[in-house]
């Protein structure tokens, strides 16, 4: 736990870091998040002003000069005239409160209405939460063009995305602050979240409802791409898994389809068709593995496969005993599944 100079510097500038970041509600990248950010700033301004006014009044009440009357310790007996005057002021303050509250309520109501409205033919993506990863299914007009992936959502810029949220076990909550507010994924219920990304980029999302031991490591990335790029990416995802490029990868495929891996994971185009773990057909093309825990590199894949319970204690992937060669081969194969 060596102190890190950059962290210390960041600690001194808390307010400067407040507005940006890959997962910030105040760094909106889509109309929904933008109107929410505007709402946050407005509420903050109004509420902050009220707060300052109240404190100012308390300050004045404390330090204003008073006519000294009577013994210092003797309790005052309020005069009815001043009491009545104060009564008027208090009533005025209450009326002002009511007005402010009513205005804020109305604003929030209008904002709700505008969030639910969207224009254009949306891209429908099914997102299903599991302990502790996300299954992403891109729908299409024909089921054979559906794509099932995991822990990463790619969306075209400028087109509304309709996320159909569900859960396979406990309650999760999908939250990508840069693009939209959060929406829960509840067993036995179907929720929908619609958002649009306005600029290309990758936006971090995270599970926002406590869902068990690895709640902290249940993140995903929303990657917004230009529409044509997105379409070609989606076409690539529709293809079965890439053939091994060399002998090592071929050996890796033998391991992946012959060992316990295949009982949980699908690699389309091979015998591996398990459905209880994430689809690995194009795992090498994703930015992260294990729901945002590690970057997708060959080394990280190796570390993860070798000992998942140390990287992410409690997750449902067991430590499958592999020899060093098998481990090298299978991580090479996985990294090659672009």
């Amino acid at each position: 736990m060596r102190p890190h100079p950059r962290l210390a510097a960041a600690a001194l500038l808390p307010l400067l870091t407040g507005c940006t970041g890959p997962q910030s509600a105040l760094d909106p990248q889509g109309p929904n998040a933008a109107s929410l950010a505007w709402l946050i700033w407005t509420f903050t301004a109004v509420c902050g002003l009220v707060w300052l006014l109240v404190l100012l009044t308390v300050g004045i009440a404390l330090w204003r000069r008073r006519a000294s009357s009577g013994a210092a310790d003797e309790p005052l007996r309020p005069e009815s005239a001043t009491e009545r005057r104060k009564q008027g002021v208090v009533i005025g303050a209450v009326v002002a409160t009511v007005l402010i509250i009513a205005t804020l309520t109305l604003m929030s109501f209008v904002a709700t209405r505008s969030l639910t409205a969207s224009s254009g033919e949306p891209l429908t993506v099914r997102l299903r939460g599991y302990q502790w990863w996300w299954e992403v299914t891109y729908t299409a007009d024909s089921p054979d063009r559906f794509v099932t992936a995991a822990n990463e959502i790619r969306v075209p810029v400028g087109r509304p995305v309709r996320l159909e949220l569900s859960s396979g076990d406990v309650i999760h909550s999908f939250w990508v602050p840069s693009l939209a507010g959060k929406q829960d994924m509840i067993p036995g219920r179907d929720n929908v979240l619609t958002f649009t990304a306005e600029r290309p980029g990758s936006y971090r999302a995270q599970c926002a409802e406590f869902c068990g031991m690895q709640h902290a490591r249940m993140a995903l990335v929303v990657i917004a791409m230009a529409a044509p790029e997105f379409e070609s990416w989606l076409d690539a995802q529709r293809q079965p898994a890439a053939e091994p490029a060399d002998e090592e990868q071929e050996a890796g495929r033998q391991v992946a389809t012959g060992k316990a891996c295949a009982a949980c994971h699908t690699i389309r185009g091979t015998r591996a068709a398990g459905t209880v773990g994430p689809d690995l057909t194009h795992v090498g093309s994703r930015q992260t593995i294990a729901a945002g825990t590690l970057p997708t590199t060959r080394g990280a894949l190796g570390a993860w496969i070798a000992d998942p319970q140390t990287v992410k204690p409690g997750n449902k992937m067991p430590m499958v005993p592999l020899s060093a060669d098998e481990l090298r081969a299978v991580s090479a194969y996985m990294a090659g599944l672009k």
Partner: protein, 588 residues
């Protein structure tokens, strides 16, 4: 006939033993008596039978199989011998029959792969062998097709036609046509891919294989394919109506009867349900599962297809009984294909064009709304649609089907279709299914139950022409075997609780019944013995679609035991024991 009709009248007044007409309490007493009589019968010393009409089948012989599994295969005649194929591990016994009873002549015991017990369909039972050209062809539960010399039992060839390791098995009878033998596979529960194969009858070599899912080339869809309904037209629908790769393990097995019309040069077969049961894991119409194919007998090329349940949510497949009939339909002579659907409807199709002429329910159905005949597609009732993680209650019919694949017989001249019906409903909860090769690929929890009004079984006499029942006889347990219609005007069928019954075909009145040693899940057969006399054979031995729930192994405290039958059959085990016995009755 007149005399027996008079006899019927006396039954109704004097006899309290009629289970369909009697009160529940009376029936209970009778069942108790019969159970003890059944026990006596097991020890081979006495036979209980009841007849007040003078009509009576006379028991002339029995043959014990010593096999506890589902005896689905009614024996077939081959050159004066009865060929009896007992369930897995199989043994084929040739029995000579005559007035003095049944006498084994020779036995054939195929090699067996005991591991098939874990994957074989239908309670380890296989439907009857087929005999043609002096050869007997049989399918085994561990995936072999074997040709024998029907006279001597000498093996001619043996082929491994189904891949046991993937959960594939064989369940239906082979269909020898000309120089070919057609066979279909089973294994929807394991996510196998359904196929129909043509083997060379002489060598056993595979001539062609036509799959139920996948690209057109695999399915045998080519220029000759002309389905009546537009919905079935398109390129590679067997793959395009599935998520990527899902058709490779998409079910659609050909585990029902195969029916050939040599005149038209067509073979008709149903396809099984899509796999897994979880419809969420296979969005799309899931062609060509849960439907009916007409294929060219010579090439296997598809001619037409009618899908009974696109995107089948309730697991009712298209493997019900198929009957060919040339009849007058609405004033026009037509070649009909009658399909008694496991989804509880009698379908009447034009077997040349594949046009649906009628589809009406013969069993309790609430999962579908009517109107199939008009649009060509059945509509799922929204309130009975299934959902992941939620239990849809009281869905009728149950996924085990409203009848079984030999569950219907047609009386052509009267236009009555006799259906051994299972009036079943289910509570079904869709769960995620994990695909591991060679292990079940199901994705649902199911409790099967009878309809609320009682009577889980029924023998239905169905008037084909106006699509409604003429009469019905209620049974406490689902009928999993089939009826035998005899031209002399009676219907014979066996029940799961071990009764063999004969009804008057005109009004369904019970004319005779007898307690057997076990429940019946096969159809009684009419055979002509070497002496020229007619006999009725009945094979008792519980199992079948109910699986081990009807046998010894299931523990019925689990409501989902034995595909959900556990829930229904609590209380049955006291009434009839498993174990196979073949009965031979002489007709009066």
């Amino acid at each position: 006939m007149t005399a027996s009709t008079a006899g019927f009248a006396t039954i109704r007044q004097s006899d309290g033993h009629d289970p369909s007409g009697g009160s529940a309490a009376r029936w209970g007493i009778v069942a108790a008596i019969a159970a003890s009589v059944g026990w006596l019968l097991l020890s081979g010393t006495a036979v209980a039978q009841e007849s007040a009409s003078g009509f009576s089948l006379r028991l002339v012989g029995t043959f014990r199989t010593d096999n506890p599994n589902a005896h689905l295969a009614a024996p077939v005649m081959a050159g004066g011998r009865l060929l009896l194929l007992t369930p897995f591990p199989h043994r084929l016994t040739a029995l000579r029959l005559g007035p003095e009873g049944l006498h084994p002549e020779w036995r054939f015991t195929p090699e067996t792969d005991r591991m098939a017990e874990g994957t074989a369909c239908c309670g380890l039972g296989v439907r009857s062998p087929a005999v043609a050209g002096g050869r007997a062809f049989l399918n085994t539960a561990d995936g072999r097709t074997i040709a024998l010399d029907a006279a001597s039992g000498t093996k001619i060839w043996e082929m491994r036609t189904a891949d046991r390791g993937s959960g594939e098995s064989l369940a239906s009878s082979p269909l020898p046509v000309g120089d070919k033998v057609l066979i279909g596979n089973a294994g929807d529960d394991f996510g196998v891919r359904g196929w129909l194969k043509a083997l060379d009858a002489t060598s056993g070599a595979t001539l062609w294989t036509r799959y139920s899912t996948g690209p057109d080339e695999d399915v045998g869809i080519g220029p000759d394919f002309a389905p009546f309904y537009k919905i079935a037209r398109g390129r590679d629908l067997g793959a395009a109506t599935w998520p990527p790769g899902a058709w490779e393990r998409g079910g659609g097995s050909v585990s029902g009867p195969l029916m050939a019309d040599t005149g038209l040069g067509l073979v008709f077969h149903g396809t099984g349900r899509p796999a897994p049961l979880n419809p969420d894991q296979r969005p799309g119409e899931n062609r060509w599962t849960s439907g009916l194919f007409a294929r060219d007998l010579a090439t296997g090329a598809a001619r037409w297809f009618y899908q009974l349940a696109p995107h089948d949510q309730h697991g009712v497949s298209g493997t019900g009984p198929l009957i060919l009939a040339d009849r007058d339909w609405k004033g026009r002579a037509r070649k009909l294909l009658i399909h008694v659907g496991l989804n509880g409807h009698v379908y009447v199709l034009d077997r040349i064009s594949g046009e649906l002429l009628s589809a009406e329910a013969f069993a309790p159905v609430n999962a579908f709304r009517g109107g199939a005949a008009a649009s060509g597609a059945i509509a799922v009732a929204q309130e009975k649609a299934t959902r992941v993680g939620a239990t849809t209650r009281d869905v009728c019919p149950a996924w085990t089907g409203a009848t079984s694949s030999e569950g219907a017989a047609l009386s052509a001249e009267t236009g009555l279709l006799f259906i051994a019906a299972a009036r079943l409903c289910m509570d079904i909860e869709i769960r995620p299914a994990n695909y591991i090769r060679g292990t079940p690929y199901l994705g649902a929890n199911v409790r099967v139950k009878g309809p609320p009004e009682g009577g889980a079984g029924e023998l239905v006499a169905w008037r084909l022409d106006d699509a409604r029942p003429a009469w019905t006889v209620s049974e406490p347990y689902p009928l999993l075997g089939g009826p035998l219609w005899h031209p002399r005007g009676f219907v014979i069928y066996g029940t799961l609780d071990g009764w063999l019954k004969a009804l008057d075909a005109r009004d369904g009145r019970l004319v005779w019944q007898q307690r057997l040693a076990s429940g019946v899940v096969s159809a009684p057969m009419l055979v002509r013995g070497a002496d020229g006399a007619e006999y009725v054979t009945v094979l008792a031995g519980r199992g079948g679609a109910a699986g081990p729930a009807a046998g010894l192994e299931a523990d019925l405290r689990d409501a989902t035991a034995a595909r959900g039958f556990g829930n229904l059959l609590r209380g049955l085990s006291a009434e009839a024991q498993p174990g196979g016995t073949l009965y031979l009755f002489a007709l009066p």
